[in-house]
Symmetry: C2
Subunit: 266 residues, 2 copies
Amino acid sequence: MAAPKLSSDDVQRFLGFADALADAARDAILPYFRAALTIDNKQAQSFDPVTEADRAAEAAMRALIEREFPTHGILGEEDEEKPSADGYQWVLDPIDGTRAFIAGLPTWGVLIALNYQGAPLIGVMDQPYLDERFRGWNDGAELTTDGITKPIKTRACAALSDAILSSTDPYLFKDAEYDAFQRVRNAAKLTRYGYDCYAYSMLAAGGIDVVVESGLKPYDIQALIPIIRGAGGDVIAWDGGDAAQGGRVLAVGDKRLAQEAMTLLS
Amino acid sequence: MAAPKLSSDDVQRFLGFADALADAARDAILPYFRAALTIDNKQAQSFDPVTEADRAAEAAMRALIEREFPTHGILGEEDEEKPSADGYQWVLDPIDGTRAFIAGLPTWGVLIALNYQGAPLIGVMDQPYLDERFRGWNDGAELTTDGITKPIKTRACAALSDAILSSTDPYLFKDAEYDAFQRVRNAAKLTRYGYDCYAYSMLAAGGIDVVVESGLKPYDIQALIPIIRGAGGDVIAWDGGDAAQGGRVLAVGDKRLAQEAMTLLS
């Protein structure tokens, strides 16, 4: 489904509110990041920092949404879905990349999307430890670091043989999916693993050309779609369909790569 | 070969000098990181930021070493080896993780080691973009972030079934090595890919339990050995031998993991 066109006032209003959500998530999560590295092992056995941080961040964001937009729906990783009364739905993943978080690696992120009847309108990917915030609204995208905001755009790359490919973990692909991923991997110039939402964000910023994944949930991908589209790329399903509900996802910085990758994935 | 015992004055002197090397490398490299993301594609075709940054950083570090320690040898990734006149040798990898660097991912690092007749004495892993500097001297290790220095230590982990494993890329293992890695991967609790020297550093800091890699060069690993040993872990070859010359490397945060991993790797 095509997203409805938001006025630029709406874009600014929703992005401003998404910033407030991201700020609340930062405050909730950062005290837990690498916290396990400094506690002793006896404590560590009953301490699950990623779960506590996840829950605290989602609760903080839900409270803000319910106060500001009581008619909007909420789909989050942690808590029960709240149905939408007006077609708008916030889609939240407080910590995308929990395995990176657990290992102390700074490549997880907070994902915040707003969709209308399932079509993503705006998205924010926030990396609190790096102080990097990616924002997108389908027609544009930007990165804020250390208080400085700059537009981002994907880079030109016409063929997989010139492309940097990324995927979180090749062993997350099963059976035919694994073979399909191998065909893309063998065609690409080089492949990086392990970056979850950070790979999609660096695709939007022009560092990576293709991301291929499967088994995604809506909250793993919705925030990244308006960022990548706004930066000039696209996010689709492996068969070219809608990727907003997750599943098998193909992100390309240069749309010319989509057909070549889809053929190898089919 | 066991490293000779340095006096604490020597440790401080060499670490202080390694800091100066790392500062020089930072100044040389940071202007190039993500620089390709902001130039247009026509320029990009003749612009190889990682090679330029690599060379500039190694040249800067070599100049400092030749001035301060003219009798010391230098082994670097970029330039010709300078033989040692007194048994001391600096081992430099200006950018470990060039593929991460190219993709704009902040998980590469500057690696600086000093060995005596091949036995690593001190090591520094510097991540300029994150402002994180790991230092180790076999008897201790520390991490400096935003000007604050704290000791680091590996975490307790008695069995692979509880362990977080990391490796840069599973497809870097060939044939029997690939099978050996799969045995460790299947035994581990979870596996993260893609982090080069940053994985070893987070092992030293207690976030990761095991790193398994092959095909390493001496400059890929020497700096990391005194950091991991100083934090309580160990770095050995897959067969339990010396890892300082690279090759097939096994790093463990808890030494109790070494035998279990070696058995699976053999």
